[in-house]
């Protein structure tokens, strides 16, 4: 399938110019169909029965794990389905055996979901070291080399910033982590949807990402882990091989192996099936094709915005080491007002504000945050031109 052909699978772009994919992407028709098919034709719980529907649903659910795992090159590890990236990161924060004096290294670039779970560990005596980038949102690898010490238990970093679009040098950081014996957690919420991500190439121990940012259903996310080193966040149905209430010397139950031990209770079954269909959809287009398409759009957008007086772009000024998440401001206009005007004047939907990155926007001195246009495979050059033209009008108006 060509990337232009995929537009037929989305209804919203027929009416509106959706450029808020870093928050939540649109969802294509084949994914909706796959989810509806489950609810209409074989809706049943998974792993808990002998009848034909539960068998079909269970197999589809298991296959979904394999499909997603294979997509990120993660067949050697464990792929757990979660509600979103936030839940995945919290599972790691809650599941590792923390001791007072352990260190976590992270950055001020992080989304709150990859910051607050670590800050919370301070209550357990864990030291959290927060690194600061240059004004473009990039890091010198030496910064990590100095910060990751022998007592660093974990390094948590976003693969791509959800504010500035900057791609971080994860491979290099992974090499340092390996040398110092620290776990590396990568927040892939903004990378996995937009370019080919392979956990073996990255060398990470945990990769967390969301289904709803990659054309998948809301309420779906993934925690991939190299080894099952964390304790399950929750215990309950579907997580055990045996329960012995007479055994008072232990917890009284034996956890099963693999992803099941981390997915207590009835999961989001249609979501999992939809997520697998999403992966197949992305693969049918090709992640490299998607990346090149977005690169073309981003290049046009950056060039167009740079030529408008009173507009400031944040993050890398060209397409090197960045994706199509573009933050900017118009002088003397509140980002929320710009977002409102874009919607009312041209039906362009963007995000504005702090983007769940209050420490970063404070660090950049942006009291009101930014306007953020985030592009995806269903956006077109014509839409980007419309955005540039409308921003120019708004900037001129002020």
């Amino acid at each position: 399938m060509n990337i232009e052909d995929c537009l037929a699978d989305f209804q919203i772009p027929q009416h509106l110019h959706y450029m808020d994919s870093a928050a939540t992407s649109l969802i294509p028709e084949p994914v909706i169909v796959s989810m509806n098919e489950y609810d209409r034709q074989y809706r049943a719980n998974v792993g808990r029965g002998m009848h034909r529907l539960t068998r079909v649903a269970t197999q589809k659910y298991q296959d979904a794990h394999d499909t997603v795992s294979d997509f990120i090159g993660g067949m050697e590890g464990t792929t757990v389905f979660t509600r979103n990236t936030t839940e995945a990161i919290n599972m790691v924060a809650a599941g590792l055996d923390w001791q007072p004096g352990d260190r976590v290294v992270t950055t001020i670039m992080e989304h709150h979901s990859n910051l607050l779970p670590w800050l919370r560990l301070r209550q357990k005596g864990v030291e959290v070291n927060i690194l600061h980038p240059d004004s473009g949102g990039s890091f010198d690898i030496d910064t990590f080399d100095q910060a990751i010490t022998a007592d660093t238990k974990l390094v948590a970093i976003s693969h791509v910033s959800n504010v500035l679009g900057t791609v971080q040098p994860v491979r290099e950081i992974a090499a340092i982590c390996k040398e110092r014996g620290a776990y590396l957690l990568v927040d892939g919420a903004q990378s996995v949807p937009h370019f080919h991500v392979n956990v073996q190439d990255l060398g990470c121990d945990f990769l967390c990402f969301s289904g709803h940012k990659m054309l998948g259903p809301t309420g779906t996310g993934v925690l991939w882990m190299k080894d099952e080193v964390i304790s399950p966040f929750m215990a309950g149905g579907g997580t055990v091989d045996d329960v012995d209430i007479e055994d008072v010397t232990s917890e009284g139950y034996t956890l099963t192996e693999g992803y099941k031990r981390y997915e207590a209770g009835t999961p989001h079954i249609s979501g999992a099936i939809g997520l697998a269909q999403t992966v197949k959809y992305l693969e049918s287009l090709g992640m490299d094709t998607i990346f090149r398409h977005e690169e073309k759009l981003t290049e046009r957008l950056l060039k167009g915005l740079a030529g408008i007086d009173n507009v400031t772009i944040y993050g890398p000024q060209d397409t090197k080491n960045r994706i199509g998440v573009v933050s900017f401001n118009i002088d003397r206009i509140h980002p929320h007002e710009v977002a409102y005007l874009l919607d009312e004047r041209a039906a362009i939907l963007v995000r504005s504000g702090d983007h769940c990155c209050i420490p970063l926007v404070k660090y950049l001195g942006l009291e009101n945050g930014t306007v953020r246009a985030s592009l995806y495979l269903y956006n077109t050059l014509e839409e980007v031109d419309l955005l540039i033209g409308t921003i120019e009008e708004i900037a001129r108006m002020m």
Partner: protein, 264 residues
């Protein structure tokens, strides 16, 4: 594929504690679109090939791509003794899982225990212009029957698949029907044009063996052993070549002799 077990050997009037290699047999429960399709007693190897070949020769699938998902899993039983036989299951989802209603049946491995649900009156005819040589039949049979497992256990059937370039695969199983399904499954998974192949077998060529060849459009089946009247009847109607008792200098061509040339 085999386990060494203790036994008492009687030899020339005396009984001696000893041991012997015994071939493994495991039940494989196959579920298609959530429904139990069969339980086959098989040798625990190449199970994906077996299931694929079985579904193909039963016309549950028409091509490999009709299988959306195939999972082989070992059943966990916490009360199971270490020496107990594993219970295996194969779960298959087809591309359109709700278009198929599949009758339950049990396939018993071995002699004449199983029947297909495919209507015998509607079997396909062989579509192939393959012509082979007597010398080829002799050499592929010789190549088929080299089996370390058979030598050790004496309890195994061997089925081979040969193409224009020689051996494609030789597969051993406790049941020759299973082995033939595995061979056909192997061929499908490797994109083999089965209309250009010869199947060889260590055991009797029953009507079920002939039927599987018809379903897979394999034009020639040869064996070291005998055949049956029903197999010959079926082969005559459908244009299948059946060759039995292939030995060093002999063989009986029962049907489809026009496909076998003698240039020796």
């Amino acid at each position: 594929m085999y386990i060494t077990v203790p036994c008492i050997k009687y030899d020339n009037g005396s009984m001696v504690p000893s041991s012997h290699e015994v071939v493994m047999e495991v039940p494989l429960a196959v579920f298609v679109n959530g429904r139990h399709a069969l339980t086959a007693m098989v040798s625990p190897a190449m199970l994906e090939e077996f299931v694929t070949g079985f579904l193909y020769t039963e016309r549950i699938i028409r091509k490999l791509e009709d299988i959306e998902s195939l999972r082989i899993e070992e059943q966990k039983d916490k009360n199971r003794d270490e020496t107990d036989t594993d219970t295996l299951s194969a779960s298959v989802l087809t591309k359109n899982p709700f278009s198929i209603i599949f009758s339950s049946k049990t396939v018993l491995s071995g002699c004449g225990g199983d029947t297909s649900y495919v209507d015998a009156e509607k079997l396909p005819k062989i579509q192939s212009d393959l012509v082979t040589e007597v010398s080829t039949i002799k050499s592929v049979m010789k190549e088929t029957l080299v089996s370390d497992l058979h030598t050790r256990t004496g309890g195994i059937h061997i089925v081979g698949l040969f193409g224009p370039d020689g051996k494609i695969c030789v597969i051993e199983d406790i049941g020759r029907h299973n082995a033939l399904d595995k061979v056909i499954g192997y061929g499908l998974k490797h994109g083999v044009d089965l209309s250009r192949t010869i199947v060889t077998c260590s055991g009797r060529l029953s009507s079920e063996m002939a039927r599987k060849c018809l379903m897979a459009n394999i034009p020639v089946i040869a064996s070291r052993g005998a055949t049956t009247t029903l197999a010959i009847n079926m082969a005559e109607k459908a244009g299948l070549t059946i060759i039995g008792f292939v030995r060093s200098q002999k063989m009986n061509i029962y049907t489809g002799a026009e496909r076998v040339r003698n240039q020796e």
